[in-house]
Symmetry: C2
């Protein structure tokens, strides 16, 4: 449902591109890194998502004639606009796998391309990766506390416009089972789910007739919403009546859903009423402003819940609405580049780099990633990026490279993966991370350090710039 | 860039629609109200936005053959799917004007349509109106504190996927001047804005050459970003040098931009340095994690700022990521309907209604809206919706109807309005609201009450349902 053209960008990418073009700097080789500075939700890990979406769009990223006509009115130079007519993204992309768990400061994805080319895709890249990584991380936190119970995305109505579409995709990567969002289900091959709202019941004179009609027409997929009038006195007794009628017809009521009130209390009451009626097989679904903290709390209270429907907090990432990922120039025309900034934490990492993850026995993560120069040949010690008193001996660990080449000269090197494979990969990687990094309160901080060469290069460039002042 | 088909919906709308269809209830007349329960940002008012977008989509809301093929696999009945092939939205829509300021509990928009028809558009309607109203409200709060300074949407990179597109539109309604988002600028006729990022400067050996090249190629629209290395020691002196060179060529530097550090301090320093150099005409733009509270604080500190670029908090509404608008059945087959729920605040308002806004002399809002039955002929007193001890005499006020018919049998009754007209309307209406409703901390609560007839009808229906338990 989304058509991206190359106008999916910030205006300043075009004005800068014009300067590069006019000054004949546009075709110099550039290296840009995508990384973020702060994990969302104070999470101890972040799930990287959106890569497949990004690569798909990049393969077809161009300006339409309508775009060019519009840009003409924006005071862009004619010969530059002629150049844009022919523009195609033709860079190389190196990236962590989609579903990888990643950490602040390290380059998660790197674009090596002509300067203009890399510049023009910045906004798109940030827009896609920041959001899907935010939502996949949120979903993974919910999966963490939901165990093997069902998790369904109910968020379309409260999503940020069409944000729902990619949120549904990212939710699956983080561990969700299904979505209520039909178009996302269709386009991404996600299981779609949904049965009834209050309006169906309200449209009848009485709740029981509404339930009976629904069970008659959709006996194969019947989940009755029991809180329209009174959950315990009306909804549940009527649902049990209909379940018994279904049994008499050789059918089974699939579940009931609670959408208001005290879900811990009501779900226990409901379970007991259903069990007492011999309906142990009827599942209990709940919804209503859930998030990972509420799901955890419901579990701790012994709530009897089989399936959680999650809306707003999933598809918008509430309380954090954005991952703060950035895309920064690391090299131009084969020379390493740096940004100093007013705040130390915003100083960038220069040059072409690779990230190595330290693993111990059985593949368990040590809790340390090292950012190295591509030209590094050994890695024995890594250095804290901002605190020069801190370093760590990493000589004896296994080291996995994090970035892999995924696009060459604007062409993808592998086909789209099924979402379930990405979900499985994310789940495996989260499984390799020790528990103390996964707790919600003050998680252990995963170390990201710099190799000696990178650390020295960065210090040299900082001093060069300071000496110029 | 967005193509909506009728699969932009929750699956349960389809399963319910199947039941309506099979039970021959689909063509009974239904009335659904759109309203919200809590204003975002603890704001004293909410700006209603998204109406034009919604009406446009509704006029073309249908299932494609690809949709039908997909639904066929979702266990929906064949004759129902045949019906869906022909489906068009053909209902009537009554609505507050786009840009109206609206309040919790009151029906902002009402759909009168066949039951199936109204049900199928629920998700779309909520998705569009909830988000744009959230962002228009956020933008209006920023306009409130920015006075006549410039406000530009910089949010595309941190937006929730394609949510940026409608966020840019809603920001204009709330009072923004421009956007960096090129495709939104193109499609909505919004002024686009943007000049340079750090990457341009980093790509050069030195900042001064970067500034000179930019000024040479784009002298008509030159805003120099001065914080790449050191704002006061490098960025500003270089910008001043280039400004003087431009003057010598008969050109003018338009502005400088600060994107990090203490913006209050740096902007004052920058203003002084520019003024001392005789560059009083050079504007100062700032960006970096701004929101309405920071803009207010910068003003209070005497910051010298002409233009604010706002990203994340504008386009995502941070810290509130969603308006909690709902769409509830109020009548079916000419009989009023109600939802009782476990929580009193969620009890709905039955029947076909109109909202009247009380105004005093000079059009100033009294701070009271009354929800009435369409059949009410007088309105002398309004009643608190939940507290039966409270009521208010409204006899002597002027009364403006809030809802107007905007769509008849699926066709719009008026053409798309220019965004600037909607912006002007919102601005006028906010101007009619007394200041105490507009403050950020504990704003005065705008009263929404019920007419006597509506209050009685609701009480009767509640008692009917309670008697049945």
């Amino acid at each position: 449902m989304l058509n991206y053209s190359a106008t999916y960008t910030d205006q300043y990418q075009l004005t800068m591109a014009e300067v590069y073009f006019q000054k004949n700097r546009h075709n110099k080789k550039a290296v840009f890194d995508y990384f973020f500075r702060k994990p969302p939700f104070n999470s101890g890990y972040t799930v990287f998502a959106g890569l497949d979406t990004l690569l798909d769009i990049l393969e077809n990223f161009r300006f339409t004639q309508e775009d060019i006509d519009f840009l003409y009115k924006q005071k862009l130079n004619d010969s530059f606009l002629d150049f844009l007519k022919q523009y195609r993204f033709s860079g190389d992309v190196y990236s962590a796998k989609e579903g990888e768990i990643v950490f602040p400061t390290e380059p998660v994805l790197t674009v090596e391309a002509e300067m203009l080319d890399a510049q023009l895709v910045e906004t798109l890249l940030l827009n896609v990766l920041n959001f899907q990584s935010l939502i996949a991380t949120k979903a993974a936190r919910m999966r963490q506390v939901a165990g093997d119970r069902g998790l369904i995305d109910f968020g379309l109505r409260r999503a940020q416009s069409a944000g729902a579409y990619h949120a549904a995709r990212a939710a699956i990567i983080g561990g969700f089972n299904a979505t209520s969002n039909v178009v996302a289900g269709k386009d991404f091959g996600i299981a779609v789910s949904g049965t009834m709202a209050h309006s169906l019941i309200q449209s009848y004179e009485d709740e029981l007739t509404a339930f009976r009609h629904f069970a008659e027409i959709r006996p194969h997929d019947c989940v009755l919403l029991v809180d329209t009038y009174n959950t315990l006195k009306s909804g549940l007794p009527n649902a049990i009546k209909v379940a018994k009628e279904m049994e008499a017809r050789g059918q089974q009521l699939k579940g009931i859903r609670l959408d208001s009130g005290d879900l811990a209390f009501l779900s226990r009451k409901a379970r007991k009423m259903l069990d007492d009626a011999g309906l142990q097989y009827v599942k209990i679904a709940v919804s209503n402003q859930l998030d990972e903290c509420l799901i955890k709390s419901l579990n701790e209270q012994g709530a009897q819940i089989d399936l959680f429907g999650v809306g707003t907090s999933l598809v918008t990432g509430q309380p954090d609405s954005a991952l703060d990922g950035v895309f920064k120039l690391a090299a131009y025309d084969d020379a390493p580049r740096i940004k100093i900034s007013e705040s130390t934490a915003k100083i960038t990492l220069p040059g072409q780099k690779q990230v190595y993850r330290m693993t111990g026995e059985n593949g368990v993560f040590v809790g340390a990633d090292a950012v190295c120069m591509k030209t590094d040949d050994t890695l024995e010690r890594m250095y804290h990026p901002f605190d020069k008193l801190k370093s760590m001996n990493v000589k004896d660990f296994n080291k996995e490279p994090l970035q892999h080449k995924v696009m060459s000269a604007g062409k993808r090197l592998q086909k789209q993966q099924p979402l379930t494979s990405i979900q499985q990969y994310a789940s495996n990687r989260i499984g390799q991370l020790p528990a103390e990094y996964k707790r919600f309160e003050n998680p252990h901080i995963y170390k990201v350090g710099l190799s000696e060469k990178l650390n020295n290069l960065r210090n040299d460039l900082i001093h060069q710039h300071l000496d110029n002042l």
